[in-house]
C-alpha cells in the first residue's frame, strides 16, 4: 500500500495531480485551476445537471401514467388517497431545511463554529423529520391498499417518491458526517467548500420536492374538479394540433 509514488514538492502543484476527496492540506484556497473554480464544486454542479435527467425520467414516467389508474378503474386512486395537509407540512419542513442549510454555510464562512453545528444539526433534523413523515405516509397508504403492485399509480408513486426519499436519506447521512467532523474540529472556515457542496446537494433535493409536490400532489387528477382535468396536456396538445394543422395545410 504505502508504495509511495507520492513525493511532494511545491513546484507546480498547480496543474499537478488531482485533489479529490477530503484534502486536509489545510490550505484555504483550492489548488489553482484553469478556471479558478473549485473542481469538487464543479463536480457537484455537473452531478446535479445529470440528476435533473434522473429525476426528469422518473417524473415523466409518473406523469405519463398520471391518470391511468383512474381511467382503468384500478383503485386506490391518487386523489382519494393523498392527504394534502399532511404532505404540505412535510413539504414545508423540507423547504425550511434549505434555510437552515444556507445559514450553516454562512456560519462556517464567518468562522462561527457553534452556529455551523447548530444549523447543520437543524438541517439534518428537518431532513429526518421529512423522511420519517414519508415513512408514515407510505405506511398509511399501504394500509389503504396502495402498494407497489396494487396498480400503476402505486408503482410509479412509490418509486418516484422513494427515490427522492433515498436522496434525502443520503443527504441526512452526509450532514451528520459533517457534523461529526466539525465536532472533532475538522471543519475550519477554510473548508467551507465542504459545507457548500453538501448544501448544493441538499437544496437540489429540496427543489425536486417542490416540483414533485406540485406535479404529483397538487395538480388535480382526472375526475377531480372540472376544468382542471389534464389542463397541462390539453393546452400543450392544442399548440401541437395547431402546428399539425398548419403543416398538413402546406401544399406539399
Amino acid at each position: 500500500m504505502a508504495t509511495a509514488t507520492a513525493i511532494e514538492l511545491e513546484l507546480e502543484t498547480a496543474h499537478g495531480a488531482g485533489h479529490d476527496g477530503h484534502d486536509d492540506h489545510g490550505h484555504a484556497d483550492h489548488p489553482p485551476t484553469s478556471t479558478g473554480l473549485n473542481s469538487r464544486k464543479m463536480l457537484m454542479w455537473l452531478f446535479l445537471a445529470s440528476d435533473c435527467m434522473f429525476f426528469g425520467t422518473l417524473i415523466s414516467t409518473y406523469i405519463s401514467t398520471r391518470n391511468r389508474s383512474i381511467e382503468l378503474g384500478t383503485p386506490p386512486y391518487p386523489n382519494e388517497i393523498f392527504d394534502i395537509p399532511y404532505t404540505s407540512v412535510s413539504a414545508f419542513v423540507l423547504l425550511m431545511s434549505s434555510l437552515t442549510m444556507v445559514l450553516a454555510l454562512s456560519a462556517i464562512q464567518r468562522g462561527d463554529n457553534r452556529g455551523l453545528r447548530i444549523w447543520i444539526a437543524a438541517t439534518a433534523l428537518l431532513g429526518a423529520i421529512f423522511v420519517g413523515g414519508q415513512f408514515f405516509e407510505f405506511t398509511s397508504f399501504a394500509h389503504e391498499g396502495l402498494t407497489l403492485s396494487s396498480n400503476i399509480f402505486g408503482s410509479s408513486f412509490y418509486v418516484l417518491t422513494g427515490f427522492h426519499g433515498a436522496h434525502v436519506t443520503i443527504g441526512v447521512a452526509w450532514l451528520m458526517s459533517l457534523l461529526f467532523v466539525s465536532l472533532r474540529g475538522g471543519l475550519p472556515p477554510e473548508h467551507a467548500a465542504d459545507v457548500e457542496i453538501a448544501g448544493l446537494y441538499w437544496h437540489f433535493v429540496d427543489i425536486v420536492w417542490i416540483v414533485i409536490f406540485t406535479l404529483v400532489y397538487l395538480i388535480p387528477y382526472a375526475d377531480g374538479p372540472e376544468g382542471a382535468v389534464e389542463a397541462v396536456p390539453e393546452a400543450f396538445l392544442r399548440v401541437l394540433t395547431i402546428g399539425e394543422r398548419f403543416l398538413t395545410a402546406l401544399p406539399i
Binding site: T35, G36, T65, D206
Partner: protein, 114 residues
C-alpha cells in the same frame, strides 16, 4: 463554451457578492408564503379554472428562488449557471417531447381474447 483559461481573476468564488443572512430569512419567508398560497388555491373553487397554470407558475418561482439564492447561482460563476441550465433545459426538452407522444397516443391495450 467560451474561454476560461485566462479567467484567473475569478479565483475565489466565495468572495462573490453573497446574500446576507437577513436576505436568506426573507427568501425563506417568501417561499413559505408561496407554499401556503399553493395549498390554499388548491382548495379554492373560484381559482379552479386557472389552478394548474397558477400552481406551475408558483412552483417555478420557488424553484428559481432556491436555486438563485440558496444555491447562489445568481451570484456564482456563469459556468455553473450554464452547466445547471443546460442539464435542466435538455431534460425539459427531451421529456416534454416524450410526454407529448404519450399524451397523443391512446393507452387502450386490447385484452387478448380469452
Amino acid at each position: 463554451m467560451t474561454d476560461h483559461a485566462t479567467a484567473h481573476a475569478e479565483m475565489a468564488p466565495h468572495e462573490a457578492a453573497h446574500a446576507s443572512n437577513q436576505t436568506y430569512v426573507r427568501i425563506a419567508f417568501i417561499l413559505a408564503v408561496i407554499t401556503i398560497v399553493e395549498v390554499a388555491i388548491y382548495y379554492l373553487p373560484s381559482v379552479r379554472p386557472i389552478l394548474v397554470p397558477a400552481l406551475l407558475i408558483l412552483s417555478i418561482a420557488k424553484f428559481i428562488m432556491v436555486v438563485g439564492f440558496f444555491m447562489h447561482l445568481k451570484f456564482d460563476h456563469r459556468l455553473y449557471r450554464f452547466m445547471f441550465a443546460a442539464g435542466l433545459v435538455l431534460t425539459l426538452g427531451v421529456y416534454l417531447a416524450a410526454l407529448a407522444m404519450f399524451w397523443t397516443s391512446n393507452y387502450a391495450p386490447p385484452l387478448p381474447a380469452a
